[in-house]
Amino acid sequence: MKELKATMAGTVLNVLVAEGQAIEAGQAVCTLESMKMEIPVEAEFAGKVESVNVETGAFVNEGDTLLTVSE
């Protein structure tokens, strides 16, 4: 199980994948909003989304887990 973490502090603008969904490396999985910028979060690895740990509008700090992904 791998964790996909927030690269910087910000608010979750949207989540683009659902639990159980297969994702590819490089795929945008959610968007953060920080410093008024849209920050795309891309999966660093392929796998299946096991859990979505955040919801739209939530504050996340750098390093917080956004998704867990199984290989």
């Binding site: 910087m8 502090a9 410093m35 008024k36 910028m37 795309p40």
Partner: protein
């Protein structure tokens, strides 16, 4: 007759000694090299030097010991891309490339040769560190290992210094790469650490692998100690050759201009830059449209990717590019990116490489996490490096430069030779949304009707945008020129050529004090 026999004897003795030296350490250590995908030190040098030719000093070091050919290090002088360079290269088949007294003396001497001849110094490192058994002869004395680092610091900014890390650089040895201008690391083999995992477990109780703690990928992505991550030794050597082509032999000379090339064919700048100020785009694509095709050399590509730093050519003329990357962390500046930029700017300035700043920056990151990490301390380093650089500096505001982001990207107050804005550029203390919130938040909250509230906010946004309209800034002589995206390359070509004679005297003092 006797004479000839004697001659023959001398010659045989020499050939015998040379054969021993050229073959390096024992066969089993050569086998180990192959298993690790490493090259023998003399094969590395053959690849590095033009026609594989070089002259070598101290070749017979420790020749009487029998099992210490060249005392585990080859020190040589040769040409790379037509330019003379000095090299030290560890031989890891000889006592794991460890340093004895003569090893250290040889390294010190080749550094002195590089300084005397004012030519680049290359360190091909693959060494287990000090030979503890020899420590009194090589560690604490005046010409002991410390002198290697003292020389590196002394030569910094005088001649280019590059490290190719092929294996470990442990404990004190880790400072060889640390004091170089550029560190190229071979993935899987290169490592850099003060205390080994074994020592970490014994002394502090940490269980960790070498790769996690001090591997090439870690240093190129997390610690920032590595600049280029190479897959193979051959690639590492080719990268070093390419890097050197941008540099003069020393600080007193100018970098060589080559024949210019057109840019890579691709989308026009107008298409690359999104209309929505807050949407991400890939700054690399934009850089490709400004520089000679295939000329870009990325420095610290994998570290703090929100700031791109790299060497390139514009019409054959070397330039150092510092560019915000909106695709990574929104292009916001962090402590790591500030550090990355500061080092790169000081490198270019030391060797007369002009600087191009491509600004698309929402500012420095805010929040508890970064304040505690010292974002101001690191940000100050970036601003200080940019401010004190006296090479030609061109600042281009691509889309936005807010707050101290404008300072860091060579804004008008920092004496860029020109501050160019694209027609889409916005320069302000902060962006419209943030500014309207900051100034009118009480009023906005007081409005109850949501429709009225939205209308009010939109009206204030509009007013703010008018205040910071780029033509107003140009009219007030804040920006020097507004350029159509399609002609930016042409303008840069012309301006860098005009500024080639720039000569700014430094203020009289010993040296500035490092900020915070």
């Amino acid at each position: 007759m006797t004479n000839t026999t004697e001659q023959k004897g001398y010659n045989e003795r020499l050939q015998e000694k040379l054969a021993g030296i050229f073959s390096g350490g024992q066969e089993r250590y050569h086998e180990k090299l192959k298993e690790q995908g490493k090259l023998f030190v003399r094969d590395r040098l053959k690849l590095l030097f033009d026609e594989g030719e070089y002259v070598e000093d101290g070749r017979f070091a420790n020749v009487e010991a029998g099992d210490l050919p060249a005392d585990g290090v080859v020190t040589a002088m040769g040409k790379v891309g037509g330019q003379t360079v000095c090299v030290m290269a560890n031989d890891s088949t000889v006592k794991a490339g460890s340093w004895g007294a003569r090893t250290v003396e040889k390294i010190i001497r080749i550094q002195e040769t590089a300084e005397k001849n004012q030519v680049p110094m290359l360190y091909l490192v693959d060494s287990a560190g000090a030979r503890i058994t020899d420590q009194l002869d090589m560690f604490p004395n005046r010409r002991g290992a410390g002198r290697i680092f003292h020389n590196q610091v002394r030569m910094s900014g005088m001649v280019p210094q590059i490290c190719l890390l092929f294996g470990p650089s442990a404990a004190g040895g880790a400072y060889i790469p640390a004091f170089c201008d550029l560190v190229i690391m071979v993935e899987g083999n290169a490592s850099m650490y003060l205390g080994s995992p074994r020592m970490a477990e014994k002394v502090i109780g940490e269980k960790v692998t070498l790769e996690e703690m001090g591997g090439a990928r870690m240093h190129c992505t997390v610690s920032g100690c590595g600049d280029v991550l190479a897959k193979t030794e051959e690639e590492a050597i080719a990268q070093a050759q390419r890097y050197l082509s941008f540099f003069p032999a020393n600080f007193a000379e100018k970098p060589a201009q080559t024949a210019g090339k057109a840019q890579k064919t691709g989308r026009a700048l107008e298409e690359i830059i999104p209309e929505n100020q807050n949407a991400p785009f890939d700054m690399y694509e934009l850089i490709d449209q400004l520089v000679d095709e295939d000329s870009f050399f990325d420095v610290k590509q994998l570290f703090a990717p929100e700031l791109i730093t790299g060497l390139a050519r514009i019409d054959g003329r070397p330039v150092g590019i510092v560019a915000n990357q909106p695709k990574a962390k929104g292009g916001v500046l962090f402590h790591d990116s500030a550090d990355k930029g500061a080092k790169f700017i000081s490198l270019c300035d030391a060797f007369s490489i002009p600087l191009l700043f491509l600004a698309d920056v929402p500012g420095f990151m805010i929040g508890t996490k970064v304040e505690r990490a010292g974002i101001i301390r690191h940000g100050a380093k970036l601003i200080a490096a940019m401010s004190s650089a006296t090479v030609p500096k061109i600042s281009v505001i691509v889309r936005k430069a807010y707050g101290a982001g404008l300072y860091a990207m060579a804004g008008p107050a920092f004496e860029p030779d020109v501050c160019i804005a694209l027609p889409t550029a916005q320069i302000a203390v902060m962006g419209p949304e943030a500014a309207v919130n900051a100034v009118y938040s009480n009023k906005i909250e007081a409005i109850e009707d949501p429709k009225e509230k939205l209308q009010y906010v939109q009206q204030k946004h509009q007013e703010y945008k008018e205040q910071i309209d780029i033509y107003k800034l140009a009219s007030d002589l804040i920006v020097d020129e507004i350029v159509a995206p399609g002609s930016l390359r042409e303008v840069l070509e012309a301006r860098f050529a005009y500024y080639a004679t720039k000569d700014l005297p430094l203020p009289s003092r010993k040296h500035p004090v490092n900020p915070v």
